[in-house]
Homo-oligomer: 648 residues x 2
């Protein structure tokens, strides 16, 4: 029996957000809201009051926020995290005898029950609260000792109600048995626009591209509004068992190979592929990009070509077979002969972990802030947990994007243990029902607290079925969805911009994939897609509502081809309505319902809409409003909403 426990009568259970019982932190970004919910109850009918206590990790003092009863013993309190650091929070609740007394007094007074003793009790509570110091309370106590009717009138006054609200009587409080962590990251973790290109295809003159060529493309990428330029691996490419065009197991002399087959006699993960330039050139690219507010993202692919220096220098990091050969990557009976995976079960694992960490810190020291991690699910999750934590200790602003297109629990776990963002199944969610269900899972499911989605309509590895052999409308639709449903999105740029829709037949892969050859793009060309991307990215910058994935609200609209949703900031200073026609071929129409309650719109509706895509203006005065979308004009609306004078 602890001293306090016996008198504390309130139970606190099921406190959220909580990831695996507090083993992992919940994630937020600067400025985001934290809704703390808990089941809180005591015995009997006494009134409970509850607070969230939160603070920055390391601070001495807690900040408190009142929690309110929602329903059925579920309570909620909200605060915003304003700094990039670790926060801690917990929940405190107690039976408040002041409020219990006040509520009982009102009921008794209404029933004309004698309340003489109740007035004395009230005065005692007020004096206790005042602790001989607070004059407002001492004064109130005196008024309860006034003549009977005057005293009753006072207790029933608005003034006294305010006193009850402002002076909780905290006694025998129950402190939730855990202090839970929240990691708050910088805004870019939650709001980023990625453009991927192969630097070797960046040349404007029909040659093998270089970092210098990429620098020349920066104005183009910046004009479209992207803030992350992601380049596939920039390291020396293996010469042994190099892959040829279209993933041929044999390459012709002069073929460039896959950038993901890393390492040769020219160097490994800390070296630069000579044809791209020097480390100095790469650092210059990073610096130049910064002028355009663009971060250069590095690809982190922890695997080795057979001629990678590690193989000679650290053969113990690879699996030796009885015949003296090294184990290839394989998915039996298939072998991947251009790749050796690391053997993470090596007895020398500590040195391996340290070396791989040093790869990351090497590039951070050279200016990289953002990593796109290749297939993290084929390396041990505990390694990533350690490596990301270690890097975060030294450099707290680094973003790690997990390229794990794999089973749901594995993807979720990578988010839990530290990845900042993750590729998602959005790439294959195409129907209205699928999109709503998936968004609901991401936004309202438990993974909301640790899995930050990044929506990609394509990647160099994936030309999904629905884009194959299709026209520009579907490319526009998928782009609009990616960029408005999710605050983090990206495209494998030139292939998307220029509508590359030719697959390896029967596969979701590109024909003549850029992974195995150098491409020549007409980088001077822009088209309708370039214009639309530019407008969308501008809208994403202008409208704070589009800078979150978590604020989505789907609107009723009967037509299954029309998807409509509202995003709004908490203060409603930014409201966006997106309506997308998922049918790339036919005009579709329907009536969309304004979410009046969410937008605090009363009976008199007066909403102005400005379509960012067409500059058209509308005024809606009804709850249900007609929309018609011709995909050959513009397959979607991106409305900014202004709610005028409303009477709730």
């Amino acid at each position: 029996m602890q001293e306090r426990k016996g008198q504390s009568r309130v139970m606190i259970e099921n406190v959220q957000p909580q990831v695996d019982g507090g083993l992992y932190p919940a994630k937020r970004t600067v400025g985001e809201r934290v809704d703390v919910t808990a089941d809180i109850f005591g015995d009997g009918h006494d009134h409970i009051r509850a607070q969230v206590w939160y603070k920055k990790d390391g601070d001495a003092e807690w900040t408190t926020v009142e929690m309110l009863h929602v329903m059925n013993d579920s309570w909620k309190g909200t605060f915003h995290v304003q700094q990039k650091c670790s926060y801690l929070y917990t929940v405190v609740a107690w039976i408040d005898h002041f409020e219990t007394w006040y509520d009982g007094f009102k009921k008794k007074a209404a029933a004309h029950v004698d309340v003489k003793v109740e007035l004395q009790e009230g005065a005692i509570i007020l004096k206790k609260l005042a602790k001989d110091k607070n004059n407002e309370l001492l004064n109130a106590a005196t008024k309860l000792e006034a003549p009977y009717n005057t005293a009753i009138e006072y207790v029933l006054s608005e003034e006294f109600k305010e006193i009850v609200h402002h002076y909780p009587l905290v006694e025998f409080e129950t402190l939730y048995d855990k202090v839970l962590p929240i990691t708050v990251e910088h805004k870019k973790a939650n709001f980023s626009s990625w453009y991927e290109l192969f630097p070797r295809s960046a040349s404007l003159e029909g040659k093998h591209g270089t970092f210098q060529d990429v620098i020349k493309l920066l104005p183009r990428v910046a004009a479209m509004g992207f803030d992350i330029l992601y380049l596939p691996p920039i390291h020396p490419i293996g010469k042994v068992n190099r892959k040829g065009k279209n993933n041929n197991v044999h390459s012709e002399p002069g073929e460039p190979g896959s950038p993901w087959a890393i390492g040769s006699d020219e160097g490994g993960h800390k070296s630069i592929h000579q044809e791209l330039g020097t480390l100095e050139d790469y650092k210059r690219l990073i610096r130049e990009a910064k002028h355009y507010h663009i971060d250069i993202a590095l690809d982190l692919a922890f695997q080795c070509a057979p001629d990678h220096p590690y193989v000679k220098e650290n053969p113990q990091w690879f699996k030796q077979r009885p015949d003296g050969s090294i184990q290839y990557a394989e998915n039996p009976p298939k072998k991947y002969q251009d790749i050796y995976p690391f053997n993470f079960e090596t007895d020398d694992w500590m040195a391996l972990w340290q070396e791989l960490k040093s790869v990351i810190t090497f590039w951070v020291d050279n200016g990289v802030q953002i990593f796109r991690v290749d297939n993290p699910h084929t390396k041990p999750i505990p390694f990533w947990q350690w490596a990301i934590a270690e890097v975060n200790k030294l450099y707290p602003d680094i973003i790690f994007l997990s390229e794990a297109f794999t089973r749901p629990r594995v993807m979720a776990s990578l988010g839990k243990i530290g990845f900042t963002q993750s590729y998602t199944y959005f790439t294959w969610r195409t129907s209205k029902a699928e999109i709503i269900e998936y968004m609901n899972e991401l936004v309202n499911g438990p993974s909301r607290n640790y899995f930050r989605p990044n929506f990609w309509p394509n990647t160099p590895d994936i030309l999904p079925w629905h884009l194959q052999h299709q026209g520009e409308n579907i490319f526009i639709i998928r782009l609009a969805l990616a960029a408005t449903l999710s605050s983090n999105y990206g495209i494998y740029g030139p292939a998307y911009e220029f509508y590359d829709n030719i697959p390896m037949e029967g596969k979701e892969e590109y024909y003549n994939s850029e992974k195995y050859e150098v491409k020549q793009y007409d980088w001077k060309r822009t088209n309708r897609m370039t214009d639309i991307i530019t407008i969308i990215n501008k809208a994403r910058k202008n409208h704070a509502a589009l800078q979150s994935t978590w604020n989505i609200h789907f609107c009723f609209i009967e037509n299954p081809n029309l998807l409509a949703f509202v995003k709004a900031t908490d203060d409603l200073s930014s409201i966006v309505l997106v309506v997308v026609n998922l049918d790339q071929h036919n005009k579709q129409n329907g009536y969309v319902q304004l979410p009046k309650s969410l937008l605090k719109i009363g009976d008199h509706i007066n909403v102005k809409l400005y379509d960012a895509m067409t500059d058209d203006h509308y005024t809606w005065t009804q709850e249900w409003n007609y929309v018609e979308i011709d995909p050959y004009k513009m397959p979607f609306h991106l409305f900014k909403l202004e709610v005028h004078e409303s009477y709730m």
Copy 2:
């Protein structure tokens, strides 16, 4: 970096059963099944093997059970708890290179890939597993070194498959980070039949009843098949502010008052109401009941009449008001002037807790094994947690039934912190949809691990709407439901048996409630209800399938008035099918579907049915079978099923 962690590549998450992260134990009873599930996954495509490790608390050695992959990284392993004690369990998983190698070998051999090196690898693994000792494995290793084709044939043999299955290669295993508790209680915690009567109404001769009279009723209660006889409080009843007939605030001289208004100058919670007899009489009742395999349950009502000795002896345990009076129980503006609640916030709470615990142990020492706890939700939950744990330490077989008809989270919490059984909302769940939904919540929801339901169609406090002014059919229907849906059930006996259906109009309470007066029943009388209760309780004893609540499976039957469900033991040695007509007035019919997969019935159906209620026999040879129920004959079937010769 811990020594082992770096090489352990498997993640284990979401292990169930787990109550509040292991803060509370999951509950089972002797012989019950524990299905352990977990999300288990590693990196890449290597094969994982996993085990549940379990043991009795205090044992040195773990017993291991293999887990199998169910789907999508969810795994399951099952064991049975055979002893009444605390168990511990956890989960272990590892990448099994033997199985990975074996699977790859089979695929490569099928694709006619050269497997010379694979054979060498296999021999190495076998020798490693053999540790120079196991001849079966050493012998197998030799066979892999046989001529190429012979060796391949051997690896592909059934014999070798068995070796792979029997010899997991445990390396770098991941141990789940928690060891989770399971409390295993005796069978009665899960299977009990309660009969409630007021001992003061037990007289056969029109007088105030005594324990002697209750002893005379034992053969009657036993003949009906009940194994718990629960008596409302047997302590001296308060004389101050005693309640009269029908809860009148004034009583006439000679009125007996409510037994829940405990304590007078004659004694308190450790005393016996003199009109009932002596402590010796009570102990004799307990002894006599034992001969009939009946336990006597005591009512634990922790509250005091104004003249309870505690009030004088320990005034500090009650809330003093400024005028010197003691605070009544109240629900403003109502006051309950026959009751003082304890003030659990008293500075003297430790002594109060100890005294209340001593009340429990006093009665245990006098032979009581079962307590029905009155309104536990109006006393602090932490007190119950402590008191039940303290009593359990000394007397591990005690059953505490929580009489908390309150909000869901409060009821659930009382189960979590230690109550053995709980009253439920069954009392108000009447339609087919309501019953199925509620059973699904109880059996498949998280509370399955800590909330053990006890179904009561009535109590002295509750005559539910659907029984008011109704005939015997609905009484029979509700009894059949309570006794077959739930393995724990009870009735407020005489009122139910004799169809007392007269309410205080507008309330769900009895008119002329036995709570406030002595009743005279014709205890010699039996009726159709007596007979039906007898048959049902006999069936509950004979059919193990009815001794669990957790094994319910609802069957498809189109008619919304017909509820059909199967219960079966794990080994299918006991199978019961119950079909209830929820319509008390009309004949109903429909086709009920046999759950073939659950009952392991193949294409040739041959099921014998014996109706315990009518002794009728049937043979079903179809999946869908016609049933017709006339409520005026018998409102339900209670079939024992025998499944004959079936071919899956």
